[in-house]
Amino acid sequence: MAKSVFTKAKISGIVTCVPENFRLLEDEVDILYSGNIKQVNRIKKSIGLNKRHIVKGDVTTSDLCEVAANKLLNEMDFDKSTISAIIFVSQTPDYFQPATAAYLHGKLALSETCSAFDVNQGCTGYIYGLWLAHMMIETSSCEKVLVLAGDTLSRVVNPLDSTVAALFGDAGTATLIEKSNQKQDSYFTLHTNGLKFDTIIQPEGGFRTPTKKVINDKRIFEISDKRFLSDLYMDGAEVFNFSIETEPKAIKEILEMSNNTQEDIDYIVFHQANKYIISNIARRLKFPLEKTPFETTGKYGNQSSASIPCTICDAINQDVATKKVKLVLSGFGVGLSWATCQLELEKIYCPDVIFYKNEK
């Protein structure tokens, strides 16, 4: 069972970078909703979509992560040769080979004694990155670990596909995890349901030819000019059901593990799938919505692996930068996978979201 308790590692800095370029839901009225303003307003009101920051041209996830990482390395006062691992978490790497972490290792001029690898995870990816980093520090193999989590899903959705096109935003983040001088308790649980691997899938582009023999959901093959097999497919209704059923259990499980109650937690930061899913999960938990940030999707879009760190930077960074805050973080989605952790952030480096300037 993937359940872990760690005592030696802490997060000491988080930076989020999003593209300055954005689109509003209104911009899509004709392209996606055949001019139906009423439908757009319903989506805005109930799902909470509004604005999404997306890259222009050939900008990649690693470009956004590089800007975030440079800000973190420049502003936090430490010797970067003490970073012993760099983990790039994403569904949108630069290359099949080499690992994008290696490319970033070079761009950031890290030491030759630093390990570098990629983790293929989306909505749960941030928790995976933190879990690995905490484990690597716990075993004393590493002193400092840099987790770079981000995605540019705007580049894998078909702009004409109304089921996904208006949902996703792009972002890159950098998080520094290091050895703590005091005992620092953190708890992790991670889950997978691989039978539902085709609930969120980009069927074509890897080495397996997508056929009905392998892929269960036959709707995936109903392609048109609005979605090709190389575009992202998502069964939104299935994801909704999965999220509101699974997430309350995951939160209860982590609290049981840490021997805490909901009252002990200052904030639960969920993967920002959309406002509607988060408010439904919070209601099922009977957890106050004001302690459950939910506005990231409306401001930036669903940012996949970057949504949790972006929400920390955007919604609660004043708190985590000035005092001790007990958080539960929880991601759910592609895999299907879901992963949750409970940890404390105390006076960490956590500036406001920074913007990636488009090259003129």
Partner: protein, 76 residues
């Protein structure tokens, strides 16, 4: 909750301005799309703590069928 009260809740959930009636076909209701189906799941969860599946919803043909899903939870 009575059937009539539920009808009003469904109308609000669909964010529909015009009235709806039990015998209306869902396919004739402009607002009955995937968003509305998700909203219905949320509504029943909220009102009755009952999580209905998307498949069950897809089998509903009329407003009455929607109400029927929770008939044992309603006041007569």
């Amino acid at each position: 909750m009575t059937k009539l009260e539920l009808l009003e809740e469904i109308k609000e959930t669909l964010q529909r301005d015009d009235e709806i009636s039990f015998d209306m076909k869902l396919e004739d209701i402009e607002e009955w799309d995937s968003l509305a189906r998700i909203a219905m799941i949320s509504l029943y969860d909220q009102l009755f703590e009952l999580l209905i599946t998307f498949d069950k919803l897809k089998k509903c043909k009329t407003v009455s069928d929607l109400v029927e899903l929770v008939s044992n939870k309603l006041d007569s």
